[in-house]
């Protein structure tokens, strides 16, 4: 009699476990449907929050070594791409300023390990429009191993070296 009771209890326990797993899958599926409802087309007619929601200190998705172990590669790529685009946008906004702090922040990113951020920083340097950095840009180009990147730095230096429209040549 006892073995039958034990077997029954085990069967009930497995059954309950199965029901729990099934319920959790159903809820997971519903969450996915709710998230899908947030696509932009579903936002039509709603008032949008303030524009260009660039966080001042964006959560750096450039994962640490620990995170590298935990986060799947696809999500890592997405987070990193987000970080890169956010950082480049921040640099471009800084380029619209005229203060040395902004230029220093942009300049520091010219040595960022990420090539896309370095490229964005270079465009921001050009947008900032400070011709005094031309010699430093030429030095940087000379120290850059990648020929294509060195050429783009030299091109930026050449462009900055031109007089702005309205200023006669040779008046720098």
């Amino acid at each position: 009699m006892r073995p039958k009771v034990v077997a029954t209890i085990l069967l009930l326990a497995f059954g309950a476990l199965g029901v729990v797993v099934l319920i959790s899958r159903v809820f997971h599926h519903e969450e996915g449907r709710e998230a899908a409802g947030n696509l932009p087309v579903a936002q039509a007619g709603t008032t949008l929050p303030p524009e260009n929601d660039f966080p001042a200190s964006a959560p750096l998705a450039v994962a640490s070594d620990k995170a590298t172990v935990a986060i799947p590669p696809v999500i890592q790529e997405t987070n990193h791409a987000d970080y890169v685009s956010e950082r480049i946008a921040e640099l471009m906004e800084l380029a619209m300023n005229d203060d040395s702090d902004s230029l220093n922040t942009i300049w520091a990113e010219l040595s960022n390990p990420d090539k896309e951020i370095r490229q964005g920083a270079l465009e921001a340097v050009v947008q900032f429009g400070d011709r005094s950095v031309v010699p430093r840009l030429r030095e940087l180009a000379a120290q850059t191993e990648d020929p294509a990147e060195a050429a783009s730095i030299l091109a930026a230096a050449d462009h900055l070296d031109l007089p702005p429209l309205g200023e006669p040549h040779g008046t720098q």
């Binding site: 998230a35 949008l48 524009e51 929601d53 685009s85 906004e93």
Partner: protein, 233 residues
Amino acid sequence: MKLKTKILAGTATLAFLAFAAGSLQAANQVTNLLTITATIQEQGSTNINVHSGVTTVTAPTKFAFNTKQFLALLAQDEHAASNYNSATFPPGAKLVIVVSDSNAPYFCQVVDKNNNFLVDVSNILKFQTNIIFQLYSGKTKNYSFGVGGDPTVTTLHVPTFGFDDSGITNGVGFQCSMVGLMKTTVTYTIVNRSTLVVTTSGRIASFAGAGTNQSTPFLVTGSLNATGRRTFR
């Protein structure tokens, strides 16, 4: 309409002008930071040697032209037109293009560093594209399979953008028109199952155009970027 059709249709509408993200004035309008880097070339000078009879024309004279100079011209013109109370914009001012997802016309504005509206410059700065000639491609996701697999749509088109202050009395006297192939990528990313982030990156890697600066003809070449980012919660 199926979700993927909605995404493609919505993206095509938003992205044909290469911009999506943000709102300054009303719902369904999107705002993008615009930056331009250009080289302007004017006719070189002519030297006639009366002794030898040789005429020498120097190479075209080059000038740098970027977003800040664009803004400087716009400030002077809008001040001359009594649309703005100063002949300069504050440091950090930005040029943005606001595009509607309806058939309403887009418009160009200048905002300060905190995105506060300064002046509408659509009377001078025009940005147009022909929606018939746009090619889009990308990846969509059937969300009944769950979140993830974030959609990305890329659009190719050829916008024309121009600066014309000829209608402004005592304006700077700058007119030009430029054209180039623009590639725009709009990415939808769902974060934490409830937040949608729309990121747009548009670029004309190489444009060309012509114009006049105080009646002096010039040619212009350069690149243009338009970037935006919006978070829907």
